[in-house]
């Protein structure tokens, strides 16, 4: 017999159980998108929080599982509302772009993960499950896990509760009205702020419920958070409708189970992300041809404009600054000890990758959360070429850039998605590539990684550890920096920024927006590929663990904290992101928590990043010297006063 009915039954019930949990988490995403257009990247961490809270309740209190399920859900719901009120509302009130909110939720996610690590530890915990949940129920001669049936029953009950809330209660109807048209609803007395708080409360409750349900199936640990982004596929399958999501979740669960059972279990964790990418591409692109570019509200004048320098003075200032930096860079190995040189080199490698990311986020206006994948592609390309095929370093590095760019070209259509969908799709891309690094053993050598990567050499000169490698890295960084700086000032750069500012107008002026964005993605990937090549030769050893979502988020943080739309900012951001934790080393594990808090705080108080801080300080200094700024409004009045019929002078 080819197919064992017993096994199939177990798979179906198991898939449905996991799928129902996905549906609960995904309902949170759907509600959030409906009401606020935000993708809450902390949703997965709320699932994790629910699971941990449930764990403590089960261990400390005598409450039965059912009561714990309810109490933990409510507590997680309160946690969600707190997060919204304390951190996200102030950002929303400043009318910040969507990107800021998304990044703040990423920061909140980091904080939640680390707080949970401080409270419950990093080791996986086994859920204490009550006796009634173990064993099998036999229906029509087919065994079904009682635990799975419990999960399905409770999840369906929760969804029915939600349905009742939306259909029969006044707040539920008010919520629907606001989700449909928040402006009109506000006029009719439905406060949008309260709807947002309610949305966070309910979606967090659902996440908490999902956490308590799914925890007995797995160990409880920080990596439960990945259930969040994975569940997003359920919402996508359900077309971001409430009822659709309730069906999309179980479909996703079944898809995963059967694909794992009959195709390949190695890529099981990637299936959901694959589904997300495919569904978003098929559904979201045809519906939203304009894409969703970000709104940037923090325009920076260049320093030359700020101080009203003429071109010659500006050039002189640029030369002076470059010369000072050059001397500093040259003397640095003499001033620092071995470890510090090592650290600075590593930061410069990351900065090279961050420069590329700045192009695509800061200038093209798309959010990329999977940048580490390109770092990995570059590292593996370079490692394989040099170690197995004996290719010299320089061609290997160039090949690394080209291969990474080719991957970006392949996935380029992702950039046509609206901002928040682009973020989740690229996160999925990063996770899928991570799985490829782990599982494509013939090429990547799996988890054991590739070792014995030799230090780079050009001709007979070997860039050994310490100063030589440092100088190689800084040379590469300078080349990439200058190239990107030139690029953004070129015709292509103007077109790219124009497309970010106003897609419709840019197309009318002849900018092939979709292609320009794809190209920026390829260039960004190329930079990461170069960085990856350096990375491989720097450590002499690479493994899949170096190229995960954590590194991707680190890249994103560098660009954001450094300041969007500033290449120098990306480099400063890299020093900040990797350097500050080093300085805080005495604080041990708290440092990453501080780091998540910083991310949120930056979004709350300094959304323009460090580059903006420098600029604000300079303008304050400038204002002290005193030159009153002519406002836009008064300048037209001046013109009207001075209006005299001058002949139109089209000089030929």
């Amino acid at each position: 017999m080819g197919i064992d009915l017993h096994i199939v039954t177990q798979q179906v019930v198991g898939g449905l159980a996991v799928g129902c949990v996905y549906a609960l988490i995904a309902l949170g995403f759907t509600m959030m998108l409906r009401a606020t257009e935000l993708v809450n990247f902390a949703q997965g961490e709320l699932v994790m929080s629910g699971a941990f809270i449930g764990y403590t309740l089960l261990v400390v209190t005598p409450l039965p599982y059912l009561a714990v399920f309810i109490v933990a859900s409510i507590l997680t719901g309160i946690l969600g509302m707190l997060i919204e009120r304390v951190a996200l509302r102030p950002i929303r009130m400043r009318q910040s772009p969507l990107l800021n909110l998304i990044i703040a939720t990423i920061g909140i996610g980091i904080c939640l993960r680390l707080v949970s690590q401080l409270i419950w530890g990093a080791a996986p915990l086994r859920y204490p499950v009550s006796v009634g949940q173990v064993g099998h129920l036999v229906v029509a001669g087919l065994p079904m896990s009682i635990q799975h049936i419990w999960i399905i029953a409770l999840a369906i009950l929760s969804m029915l509760g939600l349905h009742y809330f939306f259909e029969r209660t006044l707040p539920g109807i008010a919520w629907r009205a606001s989700a449909y048209d928040s402006y009109t609803a506000e006029i009719l007395g439905v406060s949008f702020d309260r709807v947002v708080t309610m949305t966070f409360g309910i979606s967090s409750m659902l996440a908490g419920a999902a956490g308590v349900l799914i925890a007995p199936l797995f160990f409880v640990a920080q990596d439960l958070w990945l259930q969040g982004p994975r569940s997003f596929a359920g919402a996508a399958l359900g077309q971001f409708h409430i009822l659709g999501t309730m069906i999309g979740g179980p479909i996703l669960g079944l898809l995963e189970t059967f694909a794992a059972g009959y195709i390949s279990s190695a890529y099981k964790n990637g299936i959901a992300f694959g589904v997300t990418i495919i569904v978003l591409m098929l559904v979201a692109i045809p519906r939203m041809p304009r894409g969703g570019s970000l709104v940037f509200r923090y325009g920076r004048q260049s320093i030359a404009d700020l101080f009203e320098l003429n071109d010659k003075q500006a050039a002189r200032l640029r030369y002076a600054m470059s010369a000072a930096l050059g001397v500093l860079a040259f003397l640095l190995p003499l001033l620092l000890d071995t470890y510090e040189v090592y650290l600075v080199t590593l930061i410069l490698i990351y900065a090279t990758g961050a420069l590329g990311l700045q192009l695509v986020i800061g200038y093209a206006g798309a959010i990329i959360v999977g940048h580490a994948a390109f770092l990995g592609i570059g590292a593996y390309t370079s490692a394989i070429l040099t170690v197995y095929l004996g290719v010299p370093f320089l061609p290997a590095m160039i090949a690394a850039a080209i291969v990474a760019a080719a991957f970006a070209l392949l996935f380029g259509p992702i950039l046509r998605l609206p901002t928040h969908f682009c973020a989740i799709a690229t996160l999925g891309f990063g996770e899928i590539m991570h799985l490829v690094f782990i599982n494509w053993k013939a090429v990547t050598n799996g988890m054991s990684g590739i070792s014995g990567i030799r230090k780079p050499s050009i001709g007979s000169f070997v860039f050994g550890e310490g100063a030589p490698f440092y100088f190689l890295t800084i040379a590469v960084l300078v080349v990439v920096f200058v190239a990107l700086q030139r690029l953004i000032k070129s015709r292509y750069g103007r077109g790219l920024i124009a497309a970010r500012e106003n897609e419709l107008a840019a197309i009318s002026m002849g900018v092939n927006v979709a292609w320009y964005r794809t190209l920026s993605f390829c260039i960004a990937a190329g930079c990461a590929g170069i960085a990856g090549s350096l990375y491989a030769h720097f450590f002499s050893y690479i493994s899949p663990d170096s190229f995960t979502i954590l590194q991707s988020i680190a890249f994103l943080t560098m660009v954001v904290i450094g300041g969007l739309g500033s290449f120098a900012g990306a480099v400063i951001g890299a020093f900040f992101v990797l350097g500050v934790p080093e300085m805080l080393r005495t604080l041990a594990e708290y440092r990453i928590l501080i780091f998540g808090l910083l991310l949120v705080a930056f979004m709350m108080f300094l959304p323009g990043g460090l580059a903006d801080l420098v600029h604000r300080l300079l303008s304050a200094f400038r204002r002290k010297e005193g030159t009153p700024d002519v406002s836009a409004a008064s300048s037209e009045q001046n013109e009207i006063l001075a209006a005299n019929p001058v002949k139109n002078n089209v000089s030929s």
């Binding site: 325009g299 124009a498 002849g510 900018v511 406002s631 836009a632």
Partner: protein, 259 residues
């Protein structure tokens, strides 16, 4: 010879017919007014010509070339440019940069050129810069060349859009309600610029406008749309007296014009 020839154009939004069997011809150097009540399909026609909407049937021929299936981003290089009903400037870019983007369709250099800057690219760039500056001067915004567009007044932004559309020396320019919301001074400036364009005779204009005074005084010919159909066409005098037009739309406006 005509610069733009539209034959039996029909455009649908789902089940709704936004334009049905509209034909239109614009001669070289002609200023062609396009009027009609709200929702009569003027902007739809504009979007269909510029490739943002696909027609259900009919044909658009520009400068002897079918453009019914040409991509929107290729229109600029063919020589069609436009302004928008609701302001569409590049807010964070300076006045000069805004206008430089207007020359995008007529210039060529790409990523490689941008990085390595061979003499060809340097020349092209300085040419774009000079032309953009001239265009800014022609709408008298040269003094705002370095100011970000979002720090300009409404009228200045409208003029900026105009400069951006003019910088590429287009054969045809679609102006979608350029006079809406302009102060008297800016309005004067607009008529002066349109007058200059007309006397140069190189650029044809399709002028969508609600300010009847402007359309009637400057257009060579006028097309009137109502509910997606063409109900009249001809010189301002002919259109002014057309009973269909008076019935559909100009009844009230005529009194205003005569007054």
């Amino acid at each position: 010879m005509s610069v733009l020839k539209i034959d039996d154009l029909t455009v649908n939004y789902g089940a709704l017919t936004a334009l049905s069997n509209v034909s239109l011809e614009i001669g070289n150097g002609e200023i062609h007014g396009l009027i009609g009540p709200n929702g009569s399909g003027k902007t739809t026609l504009c979007n269909a010509i510029t490739g943002f909407l696909r027609q259900k049937s009919g044909e658009v021929v520009f400068n002897g070339q079918k453009i019914s299936s040409t991509r929107a981003y290729n229109m600029a290089s063919l020589g069609i440019s436009r302004t928008f009903q609701d302001l569409q400037v590049f807010s964070e870019m300076t006045g000069l940069e805004n206008v430089m983007v207007g020359y995008h369709g007529k210039s060529r250099s790409g990523v490689i050129g941008g990085i390595f800057r061979p003499p060809r690219v340097v020349r092209e760039d300085s040419e774009i810069r000079d032309r953009a500056y001239e265009a800014l001067e022609s709408v008298r915004l040269a003094h705002l060349a370095n100011r970000p567009a979002n720090r300009m007044s409404f009228g200045q932004q409208r003029m900026l859009e105009l400069a951006r559309a003019l910088v590429s020396d287009p054969l045809l320019i679609l102006l979608d309600e350029p006079a809406a919301g302009l102060s008297p001074v800016m309005y004067e400036r607009l008529t002066e610029i349109l007058g200059n364009l007309r006397s140069h005779g190189k650029t044809s204009i399709l002028l969508i406008e609600h300010v009847i005074r402007l359309v009637m005084s400057i257009s060579d010919r006028i097309t009137v749309l109502d509910h997606g159909e063409k109900i009249a066409e001809g010189t301002p005098e002919v259109v002014r007296k057309d009973p269909n037009v008076i019935e559909a739309y100009l009844g009230k406006a005529m009194k205003y014009v005569d007054a």
